[in-house]
Amino acid sequence: MIPEGWEAVIGLEIHVQLATSSKLFTSAAHRYGDSPNENVDPVVLGMPGVLPVLNKRAVELAMRVGFALDCEVHQTSRFDRKHYFYADLPKGYQITQQLAPICTGGAVVATVDGVERAFKLNRIHLEEDAGKTIHDGRRGISLVDYNRAGVPLIEVVSEPDMRTSEEAVAFMKALHQVVVATGSSHGDMEKGNFRCDANVSVRPVGQTELGTRTEMKNINSFRFVGRAISSEIHRQIDLIEDGGKVVQETRLWDDEAGMSRAMRSKEEAHDYRYFPDPDLMAVEVDDATYERIRSSLPELPRARQKRFEEELSLSSYDAALLTQSRARADYFEGVIAAGIEAKVAANWMAGELLGRLNKEDKDIDESPVSASALAELLRLLHEGKLSGKMGKKAFSAMMDEGVSASAWLKSNGGQITDPAIIAEIVERVVATHPGQAVEFRAGKEQLMGFFVGQVMKETRGKANPQAVNAALRAALKGGTS
């Protein structure tokens, strides 16, 4: 909660690693988790004379995000050099897009407190990631791993369009959903695929000019983005209320300490000396490629959710739940494509499947029960071959043992619904109890329960009750057998 009388202004810069198999300017592998300095080559290491060659796949993935966020996606963009010295920056400059980025404008649409909001974007540009420096204070040395150096990134830069940390979190989540849905990023935050810097300033409500901002770096989880931003908002307000001034600076968020600390002030800020990279030509995307990329976009989560609500009459809760990931929505559509009614499929997924997967900490694409296997189960239930109770038992077995619903039914016996079989059993039961039959026919209707009980005893409870009732009524109706 922001104290009364104050307003915060928040802009986000999100670095998203693109899901390419090689780096932005060389064929060295882009792979997480390898031994240090395994994914390097002379280009990654910035050796003398080597040159960058642009990875076209990265351009395509960046464009997909741009189209999905309704940006202006440019057919011509350029790369610039951004200079600073650091051990994990091999060339002494980062190749990025400063003057002519690949996308400008656009918006991230997110729902905050049940209201749909469009947060404006400034731009999306392509750039290369840096390596990682590990300081070993105990041994007094620093080690550098260049595996991440040169990995393709897009930086998504928002306008200062957010006012609360909740909005910032909603922005991040919605953007995350889009970059994953477009297949542009794996979006794995633990692997650093999706990293956030936040620009935060505060001002008294009603003031139009912006307060002095700080930039908080390195916020790498949804959990912490809210905490980091609201802690910074409070730090700034407290500072001003105590008669102090906010200093323009870069702060580093520390997950473990749960607080940020100053990293460098404005005076220490680098002069990056941007200029067009003379080693690279402008990126030119021809009309055909542009159209191909635009038209190959999958349906995006928010659109899919709307369609589920409007065309399949799902509740907005279910629709949101089922479109949380592309795999989940694909699964759902797989079930209904097999002829299952949407509501039935949604109920089972929400009630049984997702609950079980959640308990086992599994994603839907790791589910032992495939969409078609679930559809088979739901069909057997619908046809009455399984009772609701048996259906749940069958589902458990499918999850645990990987059996199919029909196989389970075969070995555990399903409900007996075949009228011919039931009629035969009924006839036998009636024949062995002639006295009761006579009494029933004479009008002692209470004996119905007795006959049903006998049939159930005979079938060990598997006979379909409605079918048994009908068969008994037919068998006991007037006359003698």
Binding site: P42, L45, G46, M47, P48, G49, V50, L51, P52, V53, L54, R81, H83, F85, Y86, A87, P90, K91, G92, Y93, S142, V144, D271, Y272, R273, Y274, F275, P278, D279, L280, M281
Partner: protein
């Protein structure tokens, strides 16, 4: 036949007829290099064992009747800006004194595939920063015509080694005149191709938008043979041109009938040494007498070229040299350091020479926030104007001729205390570099001290062929290319 002075065609003929073996040429090359001792100082590294091995392999392959590459058995030298796998590549800097690249430049691998014999690496100005070779961290190469004088730069070693008969041909790099000016000072032929015609992959970067690799040889034909090998598109260099590359060798004898030679008045103004002017004008009269037409032209923005060049080239250089930080390779300070910043600053202070520091400071300044528009951006605009000067001129002529350098080789140490004066001497070579045009320098006479004078040819983009035909014709009519340095008439 003395293999040290033979042309490629002569050597090939001798190999074919069995009069000579590759092993003889490599032996002659190393004899020449070693008899010169350290005096000429043209080489920064020698590739002795590998060269003899390769020569031996070539001789055996020839014996077996195997197909051989177009430069089989030809001794070549490579400027030390150009990476050679397994062989030190220093850019004549302390920073890279012990750097052995794990990769070949594209031009190096093309030379290897052509079966050329790599004799070694050639001295130069540090990171190609200079016009005299005096900024080399390993001492200046000397001019073979007068060892108290500079060989020119930055490709001084490339020109001197060819002029002194150490190797048949060499590779140099040219950013603002670094092939043409030393070719002129040493009396050899040097070609700077159109920007993008030859791959820059693996060539230590000075100014990426200007750098270009080119051949030097004692004859136009020798250089043309090397150009045929190294030219063409390279997918590893995004700035390399995709235009199909066709051999220039077969077109050398087309002659100059109807050729219109543009003579820019701005290139024949004050500062041009009278003996240079006389030789160049004599060369032009000869061409006129031989059927060419001389057309007076104007390149009005020439006077801004040096300033423009030193803004753009230093800006790019300051960026390109950022990678030499002592972290991954190259010189790292042996001193105790307290921080990464300290490590980088110390290593660079120790590893880079004065001229490199001067250019890094200049380049950093022109790119600084607040100065970028006034310097870098403005220089880019002037560069466009200079390019347009040439485009307009080529409406009236087919090729442009001028002196390569306003002076002949000057004494060692003459300009060391006045870098600006040295920069200004690049006035005749820089405009064509800024315009990315193909150009060359060939010998057109000797001055009264017996020092070579260079005639420069500048052609429209991709017209290397026209330059080579014109220069080949001039060569066929004159003997200037036959002048040997003292002791060279072996």
């Amino acid at each position: 036949m003395n293999p040290s002075w033979a042309t490629i065609a002569d050597l090939q003929e001798a190999f074919r007829t069995g009069k000579l073996k590759a092993i003889d040429t490599v032996q002659a090359a190393f004899d020449a290099v070693e008899s010169d001792g350290q005096d000429l100082n043209a080489w920064t590294a020698l590739n002795r064992d590998a060269a003899f091995e390769k020569a031996d392999a070539i001789d055996r392959r020839r014996q077996a009747g195997d197909a051989l590459g177009p430069l089989a058995g030809i001794p070549v030298g490579i400027k030390d800006m150009i990476c050679t796998r397994g062989l030190k590549t220093t850019a004549a800097s302390r920073m890279l004194e012990n750097f052995i690249p794990p990769y070949d430049a594209t031009v190096t691998s093309k030379l290897r595939e052509s079966d050329a014999l790599l004799i070694g690496k050639l001295n130069q100005d540090e990171f190609a920063f200079g016009s005299s070779n005096e900024s080399s961290a390993f001492g200046p190469c000397k001019n073979p015509f007068d060892r108290t004088r500079v060989p020119g730069g930055s490709s001084g070693g490339s020109a001197a080694a060819v002029a002194a008969g150490h190797c048949t041909v060499s590779l140099g790099t040219d950013t603002g005149g670094s092939i043409r000016q030393p070719a002129s000072f040493c009396g050899v032929f040097g070609l700077k191709p159109t920007y993008g015609r030859v791959s820059r992959y693996g060539v230590v970067a000075f100014a990426s938008s200007l750098d270009q690799v080119g051949p030097l040889g004692r004859t136009v034909e020798d250089a043309a043979r090397v150009f045929d090998v190294i030219g063409g598109h390279d997918p590893k260099d995004s700035t390399s041109l995709k235009t199909p590359f066709t051999s220039v060798l077969s077109t050398l004898n087309r002659g100059i009938t109807g050729l219109r030679i543009g003579v820019p008045k701005e290139y024949f103004s004050e500062g041009l040494d009278p003996s240079v002017e006389t030789s160049v004008k004599a060369a032009l009269s000869l061409m006129e007498r031989s059927g060419a037409t001389l057309v007076p032209i104007s390149l009005p923005h020439t006077r801004y070229a040096v300033a423009t060049y030193y803004v753009l080239a230093t800006a790019e250089a300051s960026s390109n040299l950022g990678r030499y930080d002592g972290v991954r390779y190259g010189h790292r300070t042996p001193r105790h350091v307290d921080s990464l910043e300290d490590l980088i600053a110390q290593s660079r202070s120790e590893g880079l020479g004065d001229e490199a520091k001067r250019r890094i400071i200049l380049g950093t300044y022109v790119l600084s926030s607040g100065y970028y528009d006034a310097y870098y951006l403005k220089a880019q605009k002037v560069r466009t104007l200079i390019k347009q000067d040439f485009e307009k001129a080529y409406a009236q002529c087919d090729i442009i001729a001028a002196a390569t350098s306003p002076v002949s080789a000057f004494p060692l140490g003459d300009h060391l205390d006045d870098p600006l004066k040295m920069y200004l001497m690049d006035i005749l070579t820089i405009p064509a570099s800024l315009a990315g045009l193909p150009c060359a320098s060939q010998a057109c006479g000797l001055d009264p001290s017996g020092l070579p004078i260079g005639l420069q040819w500048i052609a429209p983009p991709l017209q290397e062929e026209r330059i080579l035909q014109t220069a080949h014709f001039f060569e066929s009519q004159t003997d200037h290319h036959r002048h040997r340095p003292p002791g060279g008439e072996r």
